[in-house]
Symmetry: C2
């Protein structure tokens, strides 16, 4: 029983994933997502947090969430190992330091993984793909986009998150209208970003509003009376 951890972050306008270079067999020398065996005395959450810190020096604290379990018989050449996938989106991963059975640890553009420029050990490509798909869906129903940007951000920075994760280009004016129309989803700070090298009027700075914004046709808050 193992846990594997997908850490995503924005860097230079593109999405990066945290990888380790395996220092031991199997797949020695190949890149992989951080992870390892759960100890009998710890929970799955504890194992994920511990393996991430040990192999990369990154502490995702309580941000790690499960997104799937993988148990295909042929996924690990050693034996029948089921793994549980964890995901966290971090604004800033902090200092990265390889440790224990990781020979190296680094942020890598996730596009390099998806294109196969960087081959991953085990079924880690599938696990990274599933984590990205989870984030794509979360973007539609929640405020997870704001986890990729700073505590304050311009609408252009926020739009870059959607564009990077969905792999599309969005119209700036339509994006602004949609975001601002969703009352309370982002909140203007009244301050402006520093002007860029091209000059022009500096962009407004926003902060995240309510974190979750579900939007089905019926909302749970639309109650007329609690059942007693």
């Amino acid at each position: 029983m193992t846990v594997d951890v997908v850490i995503l972050t924005m860097s230079a306008g593109t999405i990066h994933v945290l990888l380790v270079r395996r220092g031991e067999a199997p797949f020695q020398g190949m890149w992989a997502i951080p992870g390892g065996f759960k100890r009998p005395t710890e929970t799955l959450d504890e194992a994920a947090k511990r393996e991430l810190v040990e192999e990369t020096g990154v502490d995702a604290a309580s941000l790690l969430t499960q997104f799937g379990a993988y148990g295909d018989p042929e996924r690990d050449p050693r034996m029948n190992v089921v793994t549980v996938g964890y995901l966290a989106v971090l604004r800033d991963v902090g200092a990265i330091e390889a440790g224990t059975d990781a020979a190296d640890a680094s942020l890598v553009p996730v596009s390099d993984v998806l294109k196969g420029t960087i081959d991953l050990a085990f079924d880690h490509l599938r696990i990274v793909r599933d984590a990205l798909e989870r984030v794509r869906v979360e973007l539609e129903v929640s405020g997870i986009a704001t986890a990729f940007v700073g505590a304050t951000f311009t609408l252009a920075e926020l739009r870059a998150v959607y564009e990077a994760i969905w792999g599309v280009q969005l119209d700036a004016a339509n994006f602004r209208r949609s975001i601002v129309a969703e009352n309370g989803w982002v909140i203007p700070t009244g301050r402006r970003a520093r002007p860029g090298p091209a000059g022009g009027r500096p962009a407004e700075l926003y902060r995240a509003g309510r974190a979750w914004s579900y939007g089905g046709p019926i909302h749970r808050l639309q109650r007329t009376a609690e059942r007693t």
Copy 2:
């Protein structure tokens, strides 16, 4: 490594969960959700489908989805067993027949489980609670409510699903307005239900529209140009 399966269905206006009575130790004679050990040659999905059929005779086919993994060290008295939770919402479970290590199998009102009228083995109460919470959230962002009703249904039947799962009472007129305003979410069939014993005008029958209705402030379809 085990899998455990939560099957939910509407019966007589309330939500029921499929339980088995354990025929073997540990917790022999107690109620539990169906499940058991994954075999080395099968995937997790295959194990969930097989255990459900073996213990209850119910085939949830491709409707089973993972919703969590449970690995607390003390969750199983025998040894350190991690389990993966699966969920399916079925319109009709069909014939139930206990088998293998299940001494009995039956649909039970989920409220009896939550109230503790029926004690469950292991941490199965927690697993059932998590499955229900998943369905509560799904109700807000998707069309899962229609999985609890027939192929055609009245708005009153659909409202009963929301009321049962959220544990609230909803105003009938507001509910109708919200559902109908969400264009294409349910589709009128032009037919009407048979009149009830009280007489009056029979209610309109609807069928499910598009299955998923995500509603964050920005939707993935709102593209202006595919990135090439």
